[in-house]
């Protein structure tokens, strides 16, 4: 039974990942938000969406939700650090360019 539930969970995660990917790709086509794009908001959203997908893959596909705290924490720290630095660079520099 556990195996069956897991498969269902994997399918749901896969569906959400595809939806986020298509959503992120369509966001770049939206011309209604040029003000956000100019201030780097759209870029921050896209980076954050990528980070969310990475966390989902790590948690469910790499099975880190069952892993010890140190391993899960290391992965989440890597994702959070990389995302914060990237978003920070965009946020800081979008005021200039």
């Amino acid at each position: 039974m556990i195996v069956t539930n897991s498969k269902r969970q994997y399918s749901i995660v896969f569906g959400v990942l595809v939806l986020i990917t298509l959503g992120a790709a369509s966001l770049t086509e939206v011309t209604l938000l040029p003000v956000f794009a100019k201030h780097g908001v759209l870029e921050c959203i896209l980076i954050t969406l990528a980070a969310v997908k990475i966390i989902m893959i790590a948690e469910y596909f790499m099975e880190l939700h069952d892993a010890p705290r140190w391993l899960r924490g290391t992965m989440l720290t890597w994702v959070a650090t990389t995302t914060v630095v990237l978003v920070g660079i965009v946020g800081f520099n979008s005021q200039i360019y």
Partner: protein, 197 residues
């Protein structure tokens, strides 16, 4: 079944702990690359414009298709691992086969993309954007090729029922984890190169 229950309920380290050193080493190298990309992008108004034009000149439908292909392959790998744990080796091999086909599809589309660019006279020396584009996606492509070789090894060893170091649960979980790492790295590469333009 009791073994599977235990694996699903107890907190355990997926894959050999040593293997995570390789994973985190690779992730760290790539995160440095992501940050280097972003710093280069905002180096000056000129580089910002070059990066925006570079991103717009990329084939976005191919990039999106490659992302969906890798997500599908990751899904296939996770199902393969699930079949392996339940002892259904036939379905496991079929799922790995799907992942391998997806991986090969990714490689083919990347070659098409590179060829398209080279035919337009755009190479690694074109500008700073394409210097990073060819380098980063090239390194990632190398990871994909290695991943395909590992998946093929696992599928073959399972098919011929050969019991050696390449058919242990630890190795199979390691290959699955490595493939997911390739997928998650591409997700960030796709966002940086294709979407941020």
């Amino acid at each position: 079944m009791q073994h599977i229950d235990t694996m699903n309920t107890e907190r355990r380290v997926p894959v050999e702990p040593d293997f995570w050193l390789l994973i985190f080493g690779d992730l760290t190298v790539f995160s440095v690359m992501f940050i280097a990309f972003m710093l280069r992008r905002f180096e000056s108004a000129e580089t910002h414009a070059v990066f925006s034009m570079g991103a717009e000149s990329l084939n976005q439908p191919i990039g999106l298709t490659n992302t969906l292909i890798l997500l599908t392959s990751s899904y296939a790998v996770v199902l393969a691992l699930s079949h392996y744990r339940s002892g259904d080796l036939r379905r496991m091999i079929r799922s790995i086969g799907i992942a391998i086909v997806c991986g090969l599809g990714f490689v083919c589309l990347k070659i098409v993309e590179y060829t398209e660019k080279i035919n337009q006279g755009i190479t690694v020396t074109e500008d700073r954007f394409f210097e990073l584009y060819f380098t980063f996606t090239g390194i990632h492509l190398l990871h994909v090729v290695i991943g395909i070789c590992l998946l093929t090894t696992v599928a073959y060893r399972t098919f011929v029922k050969k019991h050696d170091a390449f058919s242990t649960p630890g190795f199979i979980e390691g290959v699955a984890c490595y493939w997911h790492m390739i997928d998650l790295l591409w997700l960030m590469l796709f966002s940086l190169f294709y979407l941020l333009g």
